[in-house]
Subunit: 258 residues, 4 copies
């Protein structure tokens, strides 16, 4: 059952308490379901739609909170960086370093992340074909074989994304674990005036399809109260409906291996 893992957590580190409580919930699920969960949260949202969007606590405080979360829950943590010079400091705490989709072509960022020796989770840009991740993987692999690839939807007209599930098979062919990001994939980019909209109700549909399509991991932003989230609320999944969703996903995974 350990062969399907999950990356879960709030979009942004809204506060120390909120992040810690969410992580403790998730740690409970990991123990109860006997699965691997990586806690995900960002210390800085560097590409908000609007200048007024909440960006987070910043790197210093954010990494401090993540360190505490690791220690108290035992969950490994993943966080994203936006500049090469953040890589080493982030790697001091994070078990996995994430490259945002819009930055997946920035060579220096990939190299710096990979050079830390930590696993690097690279999100496929919304503007890229799955087979073109080969060039991105080559950059990272020149420093470090620990690579994960995440599908989070492709530009589909304006203000919409579509997940091409063939992408999971195609990227798996590159030889690294492939993750489906089921929450960003239901974003409606720019769909709200000053932020991105989302269609939370489709998260389970995409997550289930992702497992059935053969994804090694499922990524979902979860939140205790999505409607109050400071970032990505419309596409975040409620923490109190997360346990049952994970159960369903594990059943599909079991069926595939039966």
């Amino acid at each position: 059952r350990k062969d399907l893992f999950f990356i879960l957590g709030p979009c942004v580190l809204e506060s120390r308490d909120m992040a810690l409580q969410t992580a403790e919930s998730l740690a409970g699920m990991a123990a109860s379901l006997d699965v691997n969960i990586v806690f995900k949260s960002s210390f800085d949202k560097a590409n908000r739609s609007s200048l007024d969007g909440f960006r987070g606590p910043g790197m210093e405080k954010g990494l401090e909170w993540l360190q505490e979360i690791k220690k108290r829950t035992g969950l490994p943590v993943i966080t994203d960086i936006h500049a090469p010079q953040q890589a080493d400091e982030a790697a001091g705490v994070a078990d996995v370093i994430q490259i945002p989709a819009l930055l997946c072509r920035q060579t220096d960022l990939i190299l710096a992340a990979a050079a830390t020796g930590k696993i690097v989770n690279i999100k496929k840009g919304q503007f890229m074909a799955p087979w073109d991740m080969a060039g991105v993987v080559d950059k990272a692999a020149s420093r470090n074989p620990g690579i994960w690839l995440t599908e989070r939807g492709t530009t589909f007209g304006y203000n919409n994304l579509v997940v091409d599930f063939k992408s999971i098979a195609i990227m798996s062919g590159l030889g690294f674990p492939v993750i489906l990001d089921a929450t960003h994939s239901v974003q409606l980019p720019g769909g709200l005036k000053t932020a991105s909209g989302g269609q939370r109700e489709f998260v389970p549909v995409l997550a289930r399809a992702g497992v059935a399509a053969g994804a090694h991991g499922i990524f979902m932003e979860v939140h205790p109260r999505p409607e109050m989230a400071l970032c990505d609320g419309p596409n975040s999944w409620p923490i109190d409906e997360t346990f049952s969703l994970l159960q369903n996903l594990l059943k599909i995974r079991d069926a595939l291996h039966a």
Copy 2:
């Protein structure tokens, strides 16, 4: 187990013998797996890429063959029509009448098919949003409540299609069974000079994802020797790998209902 059904068969009625043998194979699977299989084949391919493409035996002979297949295998049959005046004759044999995707907006065709009283399986046009099938459904439902809706991919740039699995949930919301066509969805329209290409290797990925996403039925063109098929070979699934694929799909369906 009867709640996941399959529409299976060769793209076109290549010959009486070939169609009958394929149907007998499928009837064996239906019995062995205790599932509903509808035999699908076309009597006329009315929209080939090239004037030289094989079109089929025509309506008269085609319906005769389908009648014999029904009788000898016990499978219900589905076939597609391209003009309103074909509806009644087709309905004399077919249990389900199919509306091709490119014709799903032709009002008179929908009305004529629905007026036969047979179930009408309407393929969503490659140019349509799933919610816009509401208008199409209204046309058919004005004559007959027996409607199925089939997702077969949406135009995604040139010479490519993408399946938006959210579409399965959206169209299910219209109140009728939704089918995923896992073979036409891997077509590369016009990808070959005088015919459409296809990526057969992704058929199981999409079929599994379709079941997991909640499709009521899975449609697949199957062929004893896809590389020799007179139509849609590149995206047809081999008949001798069909039984194991159906087994896998049923396991996923069972997992969803467990």
Copy 3:
């Protein structure tokens, strides 16, 4: 100046008087600007979004009106057909027979239209690559060398179209005149609940770009009162702003040839 021609008229023949008055306006512009204008209108809208949409006067009455328009204005006329058996009757009146975009892959319709000996204007399907019109052209050219090709936008996500202006150059390479349909290209298919929306304000932008890109003809649905139109109002261009738009387009054409 005769090398840039126009196809203009109301979407549908709303009434004899309305069509005739519009045609007389257009005939005046043709004379005054010394350009070729083909009068366009449909006798039947066979693929409305909703069953309740106005379909038109039908073939018999519609062709009678078009005949009268030809006679009284001297303008050649173009109208679209939806079934092979309509071709001969339509060709008795129409100077050009049009194949709707959604039907451009229907072999029998193309062959029947071409067999009349009239010029056939084939609209490129919203689901097709421009180079794949080669197969369509081959079908028509097997009967008749008089072919026009019309670009009217390609599916671009849901409820939107985009014109790829490279298409004008690519289709010109097939050896036949290429027309940009500047009004259907600003449609938002299905954008209204029971009809397609449109963005009339962008018609001049696309029409100017079309001429500059090298289109041989510009197609625009024009209407005396677009907001009252029974079909395609949101993307129709007002007749009283048509003369000045044609003047601007001709200036661009002259600049290209200067």
Copy 4:
């Protein structure tokens, strides 16, 4: 005639001599045609498809060369930055600072560029709707009203881009000059195994359509020998065909204003 300006130059500063000679050619055209030309070249290609792609001379040497080019040709220069900390140094030389399309959502980069007081040319991301540039513009305008916006195509399926010419009108509505990038718009992203392909033959089509659609400026990468270019060769326009193309574009501009 000064109301249509051009941004022209080689993709990357391949060598001091090559850049200087290209700029001198362009300065000759600017004088002869009495138009404004801004010389464009990059000192670092930070997001090549492959790790082995040529990246350029780096910031220090690159800015030195651009300074010399400014001095010797009198042309203003534009160059792109990829990190906030590059803004001030680049602004010491560049008249216009460019934000790469993939980075147009990175808030700190926009703010740093705008804070220099120089004009900032922001390329619209391939993943963005034109109206969503409002949020990007707000970020820049919070520091500096000198903003240009550049359309360079939108993701259109895999390995292809499409220019929506409506975007020129929509972005013009934001109140800043809008530029059409006619060379990156014909890129086939990732179309070659380890680099992006391109379709140079369509550059004039898009450039002419851009002027006709109302663009204030046209951006084109030009090169003395595109087939030998170290970057973006397949979509670069030959310098020796540039003068005649500019003449044609100016004629269209004149026709619009006649």
